[in-house]
């Protein structure tokens, strides 16, 4: 059974369940890279250009980690667009080429382009070509695709219900245990709950959900007794409602989601604060973050903390800033 390696980085947090299902249905063994460590990040930083953003450097690190795992193929998809008229960041568009240019002795890359910005036909053709490498049976490919889509739907529904991606992806298999853990993780369980302190943590899922590079922001806030709201818990329709008053549609999918969530929360939900997490050098976020910051400033209601991450971020500094922020939010709430 050929083994296919998937780096535990970037879009892993958004699409892994679907990819896994698809390849397993086609009879492949799916191998993940290890969880992020300093060694993994360092090996990525070593090959990357200085200016590359942190998540892409980390991606290189995970690719490097997969090299010695005896895989036959490496899955580095070219995700151009996942919805009509919107793109992902240019770095995703060139990702397989960058990996090939910067790194040596790689197992063969699986060439797969996902572009839903225009016609779906092309996407199906690419998908079919991908499946054909492993089976000659078109029905099997079709079935695998449908199962993968189903799996992805289930995953997304779970997140809307309040699970974080890590809860779904990496914690135990048993539904009950997951539920219990998720309940705790959201501050509704046994932990001492500061009643009602609700803080939204917004940013790219690949930064926030990797506990190593995000310095475990979720965990730190939870320990402070804060109830966390993430972008995944806000439905797409709510996000669309958030951006409907913008003069110009945002043409990055993730930018739209972050902006939509931020504006939706500003108007519709009762939250006490927002933490916006951005990696240094992120193209789209340099503009989206600026807009969100300005809009929140004008409203003057909800405090916003703008955290920039890179490979030089120190945990102590992040913790201090989070504590100060939570303190401030608490004061504001008590004095009101």
């Amino acid at each position: 059974m050929p083994a296919i390696g998937i780096p535990r980085a970037l879009l892993y947090y958004d699409y892994y369940p679907a990819w896994k299902k698809f390849f397993e249905e086609l009879g492949l063994e799916v191998v993940l890279s290890d969880k992020t460590t300093k060694t993994i990040l360092d090996s990525g930083v070593k090959v990357a250009l200085d200016e590359t953003c942190l998540p892409v450097k980390l991606f290189y690190g995970h690719v490097d980690n997969l090299k010695n795992k005896g895989i036959d193929y490496l899955f580095v998809p070219r995700l151009v667009s996942v919805e009509k008229k919107r793109y992902l960041c240019p770095k995703f568009l060139g990702l397989p080429n960058m990996v090939e240019s910067l790194m040596e002795e790689l197992p063969p890359l699986l060439d797969f382009k996902m572009d839903l910005s225009r016609k779906k036909r092309e996407f199906y053709k690419d998908l079919y070509a991908l499946g054909r490498k492993f089976t000659i049976n078109p029905f099997k490919i079709c079935l695998a695709y449908r199962k993968a889509v189903k799996e992805l739907k289930r995953y997304e529904e779970k997140m809307l219900a309040g699970f974080t991606p890590l809860d779904c992806l990496e914690r135990g298999e048993g539904e009950n245990r997951e539920k219990k853990e998720a309940a705790i993780s959201l501050g509704e369980g046994k932990l001492p709950v500061e009643e009602n302190l609700r803080i939204a943590v917004l940013g790219h899922s690949y930064n926030l959900n990797d506990p190593y590079i995000s310095m475990d922001i979720y965990g730190k806030l939870k320990k402070m007794g804060v109830k966390i709201i993430t972008r995944e818990m806000i439905s797409p329709s709510a996000q669309m409602e958030g951006i409907k008053n913008l003069r110009k549609d945002i043409f990055w999918t993730f930018g739209k989601e972050i902006m939509g969530s931020a504006l939706y929360l500003l108007d519709k939900e009762k939250i006490d604060g927002v933490v916006l997490v951005v990696s240094f050098g992120c193209g789209p976020d340099s503009l989206i973050g600026e807009l969100v910051e300005r809009i929140y400033k004008r409203h003057r209601n909800i405090p916003l903390l703008f955290l920039t991450l890179d490979e030089h971020s120190g945990e102590a500094g992040i913790l201090t800033r989070l504590e100060a922020f939570v303190d401030m939010v608490k004061f504001k709430k008590e004095s009101a």
Partner: protein, 367 residues
């Protein structure tokens, strides 16, 4: 309505012509200086790309000089440029300026919005009048490009350093003043004459040939690229610039039938290194470098604004291209912190390597 717009190379010339000929008042922002950049940087997002910051500086200076309408281009991604105008509008509003920002961009919905905007900017003149004025501006663009290309070819041969630049600037001024078809043709001939009158020396060896690739704003705007063309030219290098304003407009704004096959060719040669467009000029940078090597250039200089996403993709790939095609390459990531001295030192070192490589090859050929 007092119209202003951002600077980008000689872009101000045709824009000024268009709006003035249509009877609008134009406030051209002062030329980019250190002050412009400082103003822009102070009010722009920290890691936005350099062009956005300079634009903001231009706008602030123009608004201070009395402008009330800003013209800006837009786009539909995935390059950040497409969202510039939205961010710039918020920044300037928060600074308390009273202005209108009109974005000219491929329409997301109906074509009417764009057409209505053009009509309004055109002082509600008839479409044929607007067309005529645009035609004249287009001719100016082409004439300026021709003169620029000539100046690059002549500069390495000049006897007295800076002579070409003086005459080139004089020739530019002729075009700026010319506002009819006949005038432009006459000025262009005159300008060519001027440039040809530069005192030339005879070189014992042909000059090094270097191509410039990269992001359009950085390539076109001399302040942003630290005057790289002039610097290289005066070091005795024949520079070829891959992007010209007229050329860009032709390739991107004209209907497909008028375009050259170049875009397709770039895509084709870049295949295997970069198989997909990545927004901005990422794909062009990779493809152009390969074309330069095919045309026997001695080296390529790649210029990008700091944190430019599409160009980082290109920059990650270019070293491999350079190795495979045996064409030396140097990348400069520039922003408000770039210093000229360090830049020149790196260029000098690069040129030394190139001339050694070239000279050695010639020797081998002789033996």
């Amino acid at each position: 309505m007092k119209i202003t717009f951002p600077h980008m190379g000689s872009l101000a010339v045709p824009l000024k012509t268009i709006f003035e000929e249509l009877g609008q008042e134009v406030v051209v922002p002062p030329s980019i200086t250190k002050k412009t950049v400082t103003l822009g940087v102070r009010h722009s997002p920290e890691f936005a790309c350099f062009p956005l910051k300079v634009n903001i500086g231009n706008f602030i200076e123009a608004l201070e000089n009395g402008a009330d309408t800003i013209i800006m281009a837009g786009g539909v991604g995935p390059c950040r440029f497409g969202y510039y105008a939205e961010v710039q509008r918020e920044i300037l509003t928060d600074l308390g300026y009273n202005f209108e920002l009109i974005v000219l961009e491929p329409p997301q919905g109906s074509l009417w919005g764009l057409l209505a905007n053009i009509k309004r900017l055109g002082n509600h003149r008839s479409w044929s009048e607007i067309w005529e004025v645009i035609n004249i501006a287009w001719k100016q663009v082409l004439a300026l490009d021709v003169l620029h290309e000539m100046s690059l070819k002549i500069r390495p041969y000049e006897k007295k350093k800076g002579a070409t630049t003086v005459l080139y600037e004089r020739a530019q001024k002729l075009i700026v003043k010319a506002r009819t078809h006949e005038d432009i043709t006459w000025s262009l001939d005159k300008g060519k004459e001027l440039l040809n009158s530069v005192d030339k020396k005879t070189l014992d060896r042909p000059p090094l040939k270097i191509g410039i690739v990269g992001e359009i704003y950085m390539v076109l705007e001399p302040y942003a690229n630290l005057d790289i063309e002039k610097t290289l030219g005066e070091m005795g290098v024949e520079v070829d610039r891959s992007i010209y304003l007229g050329h860009w407009i032709k390739e991107h704004l004209f209907p497909k039938a008028f375009r050259s096959r170049e875009g397709e060719e770039i895509k084709k040669v870049a295949q295997g290194y970069l198989n997909h467009f990545v927004g901005g000029h990422g794909l062009e940078s990779v493809g152009r470098t390969i074309l330069y090597s095919r045309d026997n250039f001695d080296g390529v200089v790649h210029i990008l604004p700091f944190t430019c996403t599409p160009e980082i993709v290109a920059q990650s790939i270019l070293p491999e291209v350079s190795k495979d095609y045996k064409i030396p390459l140097i990348s400069f990531s520039l922003d408000e912190h770039s210093g000229k001295a360090g830049f020149v030192t790196r260029l000098e070192a690069f040129l030394d390597l190139l001339s050694q490589k070239k000279y050695n090859q010639e020797l081998k050929g002789a033996v």
